[in-house]
Amino acid sequence: MPAGLIRLVLLGALALGLPAAAGATTGAGLYSENCLRCHGVGGSGVSGQGPSLRRVGARAADFYLRTGYMPLRDPEQQPWRRHPRFSDAQIAALVGYVASFGHGPPVPAVHPEHGSVSQGLRVFTEHCAGCHQVVAEGGYVVGARVPPLDRSTPTQIAEAVRIGPFLMPRFPESQISRRDLDSLAAYVEYAKNPDDRGGWALGHVGPVPEGLVSWLLAGAALVAVCALIGRRGTE
């Protein structure tokens, strides 16, 4: 269901005075209304429904709630970015509650202003571009759509790198250091509005549209050459 439709349904429910999904205000209350069915009591996880949250910490809770990935209607569905279901205060309460399940990692601190865009490009090319494409436009892998990163905040980038959401691998500090992560976040920020030296960006998705345009231009040039060297019949 698209985010707009969900909001409409919620508004309708509020207008009718029915208890809405966002009725509770404490972390525990919000959790039992929105998360419990799949993630179980105290984040123990439910087989076939949702993974355990005992050691995921504030990092994963913050990421999945602020990107709108969770709550998910169907556990087999790929989470996709949408408007968050909860307000900032509600997210803070939920994140605190999920973090209380166990000793999980905190929300990472990332400083793109300390990073270097060129180093970020190197790290991104090596670790991310295989799926997300070099200008972070997203794409496809076997079994999943790869999201574009045009609306990801630096904190969400850092969280995703360490968590590895859905089918993405995670990258511990031995693979991408904190300093490289700062650069990576700086590059992703840059890639939101890249400097297109060539003129036509063609959607930043690489050789396919570029090839199509080349064929089109070459075809036009060939037709022009034919018109130059040929002559119309005299009928």
């Binding site: 076939g48 993974p51 892998v141 076997v142 079994g143 999943a144 590895g164 859905f166 089918l167 009928e235």
Partner: protein, 326 residues
């Protein structure tokens, strides 16, 4: 179009024709011989042949900078010169009077003869037909040779031993990009590592590895590979068995209950290999499993090779399945 066909007909049929009968009335008006145009055509044929030969030379000579661009330039120039030669023939050598009469059906021998005469006379301006045919033949041959040359890269015909050689031997340590040995306890689940043989040339096809860790209980390796994956750590060749791209993607589910199983994926054509079952192909164009390298733990917990790969590394070639790595 017709003029091009006529030009081609002149080139193909012109040789060894009987001299035009003098008593016959001409259909095509007489054109003056143009030696200048002929020389130009010959020069263009020569340039075509030279460009095509340049393509072959650049293809064979790896050390040249910007090889791909030079290849494109050479073959592009060859075709450009060839088309220029044909344009000159059509414009300046073939008599260019428009004859709008319909061609009669070929069943009538008299008219057939007329067409032959027409073709013959259209080529009248060419004084050195044999030389031109020779030039055109040389240009065509050179372009043909240039187009066939890349077939040499399809694989070795006689000597395949270099393709089977890998640097991996029992006891060799696995190191990272900076040459630091990997220890087993730093290999985490859910991510993947690139490893190289210590002290060996990393540019060799058989050198790079992709290393992952899975739950030992989740492994289902083929018979004879018992003990190849200590603590669930697996090493595979990083070179895809389809077209030799680097296996740069690792698909790893957050929630394995409902999501696809872990897989090594090649970004070029999405060949997908299952690390839990010995690198078998799950999806994509690859025709054989990813070669697995047996691993051992050293005394200090470092990762060492336990032998050579399970099969030949790299893309497929004739008879690759029957070979063993050296």
């Amino acid at each position: 179009m017709r003029r091009w066909l006529v030009a081609l007909g002149v080139l193909v049929l012109g040789r060894g024709r009987r001299p035009p009968r003098l008593d016959r009335e001409r259909i095509v008006p007489e054109g003056l011989p143009s030696r200048g145009a002929e020389v130009l055509v010959l020069a263009l044929f020569g340039l075509t042949a030279l460009s095509a030969i340049a393509f072959i030379v650049v293809y064979a000579w790896d050390a040249i900078p910007h090889q791909t661009q030079s290849l494109g330039l050479a073959i592009g120039l060859a075709f450009a010169f060839l088309s220029a030669a044909l344009i000159v023939i059509a414009h300046r050598l073939v008599v260019a009077e428009e004859l709008e009469d319909d061609y009669p059906p070929p069943a009538h021998p008299v008219e057939q003869e007329e067409i032959e005469q027409l073709v013959e006379e259209s080529g009248d301006r060419m004084t050195r037909k044999r030389l031109l045919i020779l030039g055109g033949g040389a240009a065509g041959l050179a372009i043909g040779a240039a187009l066939v040359t890349p077939a040499a890269s399809l694989g070795p015909v006689l000597r395949v031993a270099p393709l089977l050689r890998t640097p991996w031997r029992r006891g060799l340590r696995l190191v990272d990009e900076r040459g630091r040995p990997y220890s087993a306890d730093e290999i985490e689940e859910g991510t993947f590592y690139t490893a190289f043989p210590e002290g060996a040339d990393r540019e060799q096809l058989g050198a790079p590895l992709v290393v992952v860790r899975l739950e030992p209980a989740a492994l289902d390796l083929p018979d004879g590979r018992e003990g190849w994956a200590p603590d669930g750590i697996l090493a595979y060749s990083k070179i895809c068995t389809h077209a030799a791209c680097a296996i740069a993607l690792y698909r790893t589910p957050t929630f394995p209950d409902v999501q696809p199983r872990p897989a090594l994926v090649c970004p070029c054509h999405y060949s997908t290999f299952d690390p839990a079952t010995g690198g078998t192909v799950l999806f994509g164009p690859a025709g054989r499993p990813l070669p697995q390298l047996p691993l051992e733990l050293g005394g200090g917990g470092e990762l060492r090779a336990g032998g050579n790969f399970s099969g030949p590394v790299g893309p497929a070639w004739w008879g690759v399945r029957s070979k063993k790595p050296l």
